[in-house]
Each structure stands twice: as C-alpha cells, then as structure tokens.
C-alpha cells in the first residue's frame, strides 16, 4: 500500500489494487500507485517486473482483471485506449520510430488529433473549417516545438534524425494535446549522457512549469534518484518499495532485486 503523500490533495492518477494476468502469468499483482499532480514519480524495477504493463493498464491497452484506474477522480477501468487518451492521459513510447516517415511537424499534428474538432471529411476542401482548425492547432504545435527546442528539425523526416531527437519528438507528440497525466516509457534509454541531461531538463520544466503528473519508467537509477519526487519499485508484478527515492534505493528488497543478493 502507498501512503505518505501529504503535499497534493487529490492524486491525478490513482492505480488501485490493479491485477493484470496474461494467461496464467501474473503480470501485475495488486499494484497500487498514486501519481499526484505536480509530481514526477519514478517507476523502477528489473526487466519483466511489469513496468510497461502498468502503463498499458493505465492507458487501457491491457485490461485489468481486478482493481481500478482512476484519472482525475473518474474511474476509467476497462475503457477503450482512445477514450482514456481523451481524459488527458498521454504516453511516450520506448521505441519512437513507429511513425518515422512523418516530418516533425506532421508527427506533432498527429499527436494533436484529439484537438482537431472538424469532421474528417471537411479535409477534402482546400479551404474552410478544416484548414482554420489546422492553423489554430499548428500554433500550439509550434509552441511545443519551441519548448523542446526542435526548430531546426521542424520539417525533417523523423527517421532521419538522431535517436535522441526522435525521443524528444515523441515526447512533443505526447505533449501537444495538453495532457494532465504523462506516462514516460524509458525516455532516456539509449541516449548519450548529454541527451539524457537534455531530456531530464525538459521533464523537470514540465513538472515545475506545466505542473504535469508524470510516471517515468527509468533504468538509469542515478538519474531517476536525483530527479524523481518519489520512486515506486516493481518486481515480478508487485510493488516492493515506495517513497523517497534515496530511501527506496536503500530498501533491501530493491537492492536484492537489482544486485541479486541471495534471499
């Protein structure tokens, strides 16, 4: 159980006793995680611990067999992924190359899909409703491009860009529709030290300037211990430690999960 958050009143994202089974495999076993609004919550754990499954359960991709996912006070358990996205939940992907054939601007416009209110067929006309909406949303997209300092890559095709930039573009894509809850699936994996620091800088700005609730899966323990407000450690689908990052890192269960001490 998770206790001990005092600062924010209502957690934006509550995962309460969620269990996810894949056949006979218990991927998540009664996992409870709270992500309050301006908090950066780190999610750590060895491979196969269920970190990505937890994000999938929150976004509706994996259906929990029991438990609840509550976003902003509303129970979204069992809803379709696209509906949950409309509730203000965005996520980045471990491998951002899937939409690599788009340019940076196009990728972000794709992320802005939910903000475009015109019916799809209005797009056939080269003027009018659809074009006005696109222009309006493009302004927001430009803001995100400015924020992430991606101007020089604006019209480049994403798959031709360095991996670190691709990760930033993916983050931008998730940011465009103004989410309240941001789920980051290993945003710094595969980046150089310099790129990692750059990414961390943006994530901290998001926490302090945009007051997002963020759940951040990270394998770089040093990085996440420095930056996160709280840490949640998962192992074999169970929460083994929660709380202050430095304390969590000292917990015997976490140490043994990572170092593999004889139990």
């Amino acid at each position: 159980m998770i206790t001990g958050i005092t600062e924010p009143s209502q957690p934006s994202l509550q995962v309460a006793d969620v269990t996810v089974k894949f056949g006979g495999l218990l991927a998540l076993d009664n996992v409870t995680v709270d992500v309050p609004t301006p908090y950066l919550v780190g999610l750590i754990g060895p491979n196969g611990a269920g970190k990505t499954t937890l994000i999938n359960a929150i976004t509706g991709v994996a259906k929990p067999s029991s438990g609840h996912v509550v976003i902003d006070g509303k129970d979204v358990t069992g809803k379709a992924p696209s509906q949950i996205a409309h509730m203000g939940v965005a996520r980045t992907f471990q491998l951002p190359q899937a939409f690599g054939h788009f340019t940076v601007v196009e990728t972000m416009m794709l992320g802005a899909h939910m903000m475009l209110k015109y019916p799809w067929f209005a797009g056939v006309l080269p003027f009018g409703w659809a074009r006005r909406e696109e222009a309006r949303v493009l302004e927001k997209v430009e803001e995100v491009i400015d924020f992430l300092e991606l101007e020089r890559y604006r019209d480049k095709v994403v798959r031709t860009l360095p991996y670190g930039v691709q990760k930033l573009v993916d983050l931008g894509r998730a940011l465009v529709p103004n989410p309240q809850v941001l789920l980051l699936d290993e945003p710094s994996t595969g980046l150089t030290r310099e790129e990692k620091e750059n990414m961390a800088r943006f994530l901290l700005r998001l926490r302090y300037e945009r007051h997002l609730a963020m759940l951040w899966i990270e394998h770089d323990l040093e990085l996440i211990t420095d930056l996160a407000d709280r840490l949640v450690a998962l192992c074999f689908g169970q929460v083994i430690a929660v709380g202050e990052p430095k304390e969590v890192m000292r917990t015997p269960e976490v140490v043994s999960a990572y170092v593999g001490a004889a139990s």
Binding site: T59, G60, V61, A80, P81, S82, A85, H86, A90, R91, F93, A98, F99, H101, F102, E106, M109, L110, G111, H113, M114, L116, Y118, W120, F121, A122, G123, V124, L125, P126, A130, E134, R152, R173, P177
Partner: protein, 337 residues
Amino acid sequence: MAIAALVAAAIVPFVFDTYYLSLLNLVFIACIGAIGINITTGYAGQVNLGQAGFLLVGEFVAGAIAIHIGAIWANFWIAAPAAMIAGAAVGVIVGWPALRVRGLYVTLATLAAFFVIQYLGLRYIEYLQQTLKTGIDIKLSALDLLFMTVSSERSWYYLLLSVTVVVIVAATGLAHTKAGRAWQALREHELMTEVMGIDVAHYKLIAFAVGASLASLAGMLFGFYHHSVNPEAFTVEVSVQYLAMIIIGGMGSIAGAVLGAAFVVLIPYGLEWVLDTFNAPSQFLIYFSAVRLGVFAFLMLIFLLLEPEGLIGLWERIRRFFVLWPFRFQPLEEKRR
C-alpha cells in the same frame, strides 16, 4: 505550375486524335480508382484485393439508374453521388471484418467480398437478360450533364479530366488533414495510434468507405463510357492491376497513384506500339497477351526489388540529383537554418 498543367490539359484534345484521347480517358478512370485504393491500401495499410468488386458496384449503379429508373435520370449529377454512396456503403460492409482481423486476413476478406459482388452481379445480369429482354449486351444510354450529353471522345475527355482533378484535390486534402495522418499512423502501429486518442476502428472503416466510393465512381464512369454493363470486364486480374498501380506508382502518394495508373493502363499500348514500330514477326502478336502479362509481372518485380517507393520515389531521386547538383548531399550550412 498547376495552372500551366491545366491549360496544357485543356488544349490536348485539339492536338491529339481520338485514339490518344480514348487512351487518356481510360487513364483518368484508372486514376480515380487508383487514388481510391491508394487510400485504403497505401495510406491506411489495409491491402485490398476487392477493388474490382467496388468498381462493379459503380457499374451496377449506372445500370440501375439507366435501366430501371429511366434514361432521363442518367445524369452525372445524380449518378455520381449515387455511385459514391453505394460504394461507400459496400466499402463499410467489406471493411467490417478488418476491425476484427489483420493483415492477410483482411486481404482475404476483400477477395471473398469481390467474389460475392461478382456473383450477385452475374445473377443481376441474368435477371435483366431474362425478364427485361435486354439481350446479351446490356446497353446504357449516354451520360447526361445538365447542359449537354457526354458522347464524343472529346467531351468525355473534359468530363473525366475535371472529375480526376477534383478527386486529386479532395484526396490530397484528406491525406494532409486529420484523416490522412490517422490512416498513416494506424498503418504503422494500431495500438500506438489508439493510445493517441484516435479511434482506429472508425478510421479503418472510413478508409474502406472512401476507397470504395472512389472505385465505385470510377466504375460508374467506366460503365457509361463503354455504354454497357459488363461484369466480366472486372475480374480478379483488375483488382491485381489496381494494386499494381499503387505499387508501381508509389504507395501512400496521390501523385504516385496517378503515375501508376497511367503506367499500368498505357503499358500494353506501349508494347503494341513497340512491336509495330519494329515490325515484329506476326507470331509475336499472337503471343501478345502472354507477353503483356509477362512484362507486367516483370515490371512489378523490378519495382518491388529496386524501387519500393515506386515511380514517385524515382522522380524524387532524379529531382534531388538536379537540385543538389553538383553535390550528392545537402550542404551542411543549409541544414542549420
């Protein structure tokens, strides 16, 4: 540039004779159908082997309007929306299985749908021949516009040119707005697309509906152009040809679909011309259809192996060569705008 192209297109009928005009008319009809399948397959990634069935739907709409309702209603302004609505409806029904299954199974479903439509079509023709005594050939009246009847090759040229231009503009518009982006995204990764708040099922059905309605429009025009309803003209081979158009032209590109349609339609005539010019011995002409299919298959292989982005990819490469000349790559300075 676009205006210059349109002016050039407008004076074409005064320069070329009817034989070339009829070829261009066939290219235009193929363009409309190819842009349609390019949306279903090229953009949304649902490989469709039933395009001939959707074309057939349009031809039946043409037949139904001209035969049952009366020739007076054989008006473009009625037939075009009717064909497009019927095509879209059939497209949604055929696309329905794609919500449950993926990849090859979708393709099989479209192929199965084609055989169902063809079967229904043949029964309908039988019914017409027996009850209405229309004879073996079912003749259609000429297509009417509000102010004129489209009968000469030249008037068909202008009508088909206009329809094709409208379809190109509309399809380009769709491709560059939210539907086009959603289609390309779901082609690459359905789950990721869904997580971005895009209703994948909805956009898959739209892709089928739009693709089929354009095919149906092409089929309607084809029927009136040939003055007949003839389901035997639409075989599986036609479906494969449409798929070939976008593979050769370049998947996921409107310009590619246009180039591919022109290429696939004109190749047999081009071969004929080559054989004629070089006075090929007569046995070549006897084996001509076999040669044609062989060349066709060979070209498709070449494109799949050497230029997967199709003619449009080839064109891009040639363009880049001249724009960048004498360099091979973009100079670094320009990159840092």
